[in-house]
């Protein structure tokens, strides 16, 4: 989780009628806390994470802790009180509202065909997902839970050696539509492929030497690896209704040779909650 955590009391003292957690995730197991209750909880416009768990102090259940999940299609409207002066049993921690992503994020994820060889192996970059959650302090007149569309622009690829693959991982959580456009302005052809990855838990031993952890994700092909000639374009459209729902879009770039310059391969990605 990011430090310092945003202070919900500061929002009250500052006269805001909402408290917003808008932060990039640091790793799996991120959990955020709020001293304030709310009259509604909803995803914020900038969230990449689609499903968020909200835990709260509930005197009506034996464990004193109850939870609910919000998503782009379902906000929670109703009084949800925080009880920081009372403690959750057993752990003996204040009865704050706890907010954690239900979707998985793991920056140690590696695609199934990833080359781990140090020095000449593949390179991977992640677009860190954003968690954006809003607690409303007063009754909102209406809630629009839909997230904003997002656009990503990249102008370069990274390579450690000739023929190694550069992997780019973009958050896909719950998005219904995505558009991928590539233009090859390098001085050689590049093979580009897109897969979807759904993270899971693995009990298998490491698959290869140098493998920090075995690949436990389910992967599905969105666009088979295609050679893009010099000065040519490649476009692809993703629809969740036909291609399934994924945590990540994983894009692979394999140049024919080590590029003399890493700049010149343009990638433009648009993701949306609308099934356009």
């Amino acid at each position: 989780m990011s430090y310092p955590q945003p202070d919900s009391n500061a929002s009250v003292l500052g006269g805001q009628n909402f408290f917003r957690i808008n932060t990039m995730l640091q790793g799996p197991g991120d959990i955020y806390e709020s001293d304030q209750g709310s009259l509604a909880v909803a995803l914020g416009p900038d969230s990449d994470i689609a499903n968020v768990n909200v835990y709260y102090f509930d005197e009506l259940v034996a464990s004193r802790v109850n939870s609910l999940q919000i998503s782009p299609d379902r906000s929670f409207v109703g009084l949800l009180a925080a009880h920081p002066t009372e403690n959750y049993p057993v752990v003996n921690l204040p009865g704050r509202v706890l907010i954690a992503p239900a979707d998985q994020f793991d920056s140690s994820f590696r695609p199934a065909t990833f080359n781990f060889t140090v020095g000449v192996g593949d390179v991977i970059d992640f677009v860190t997902p954003v968690l954006d959650v809003i607690q409303y302090f007063s009754q909102p007149p209406s809630l629009i839970p839909q997230r904003s569309d997002k656009e990503y622009e990249f102008e370069s690829i990274q390579q450690s050696a000739a023929l190694c693959t550069y992997w780019l991982v973009v958050p896909a959580y719950g998005r219904k539509y995505a558009s991928f456009n590539f233009r090859n302005n390098l001085n050689q052809s590049v093979s580009i492929g897109i897969t979807g990855a759904k993270l899971g838990v693995s009990n298998l031993p490491a698959a290869a030497a140098g493998d920090a952890r075995p690949s436990s994700a389910v992967q599905g092909v969105i666009k088979a690896v295609t050679a893009v000639a010099v000065n040519a374009q490649l476009s692809s459209v993703y629809l969740a209704s036909t291609m399934g729902s994924w945590d990540y879009f994983v894009i692979s770039y394999t140049p024919a040779l080590l590029p003399t310059s890493n700049f010149g391969l343009a990638t433009h990605i648009t993701v949306s909650d609308d099934a356009l």
Binding site: N9, V12, L13, G15, N17, D35, Q36, G37, S38, L39, E59, L79, L80, A81, A82, H83, P84, T85, E86, F137, S138, Q139
Partner: protein
């Protein structure tokens, strides 16, 4: 029998001053005492409404307002709370029912007698809008009623004098 206007006005002045000892003591003279206009302003200030935001702190019951005069207090919770208010000195825990739970954005109005204290307890840092309207005391109202009665009597005397001419 109709009273002469000059006698009647003297009676109004003497009764007004005699009924209120404090006012009688501060009646301005040629050499001392505050001007009457200034005293009126002071009197109005004492009855002026007050409005402010109160920020609660989670924990034990706290004093929100002590009514030195009759007052009508309007409280509006601006955040989710929970916040409870009441006239008992111990309202904890907040959901115990010893006080009234405030509902967000719904004004809660309570009339406080002179000398009554209003307490608050909360489970989270909360913002409460407080509006205090002071209500004139019975003695103030009695004085005003006297003035009205005497003026009415003066009016009827004048009419009676005119009719006898």
């Amino acid at each position: 029998m109709a009273m002469k206007p000059g006698n009647l006005i003297s009676r109004i002045a003497s009764e007004l001053t005699a009924k209120n000892k404090e006012q009688s003591r501060s009646t301005p003279t040629a050499n001392s005492g505050a001007p009457a206009a200034a005293r009126r302003v002071e009197s109005v200030k004492q009855l002026q409404a007050d409005a402010y935001d109160y920020f609660t702190v989670p924990g034990p019951t706290a004093l929100l307002y002590s009514a030195e005069r009759y007052a009508m207090v309007t409280l509006t919770l601006r955040t989710p709370g929970p916040v409870a208010v009441g006239t008992r000195a111990n309202l904890t825990p907040v959901n115990s029912g010893k006080g009234v739970r405030l509902v967000t954005d719904e004004p809660f109005v309570i009339k406080l007698d002179q000398g009554t204290r209003l307490y608050v307890v909360s489970g989270a840092v909360s913002r409460v809008s407080v509006v205090i309207d002071l209500i004139p005391a019975t003695s103030d109202i009695g004085l005003e009623r006297q003035v009205v009665a005497l003026l009415t009597e003066l009016n009827s005397n004048i009419k009676a004098m005119r009719s006898t001419r």
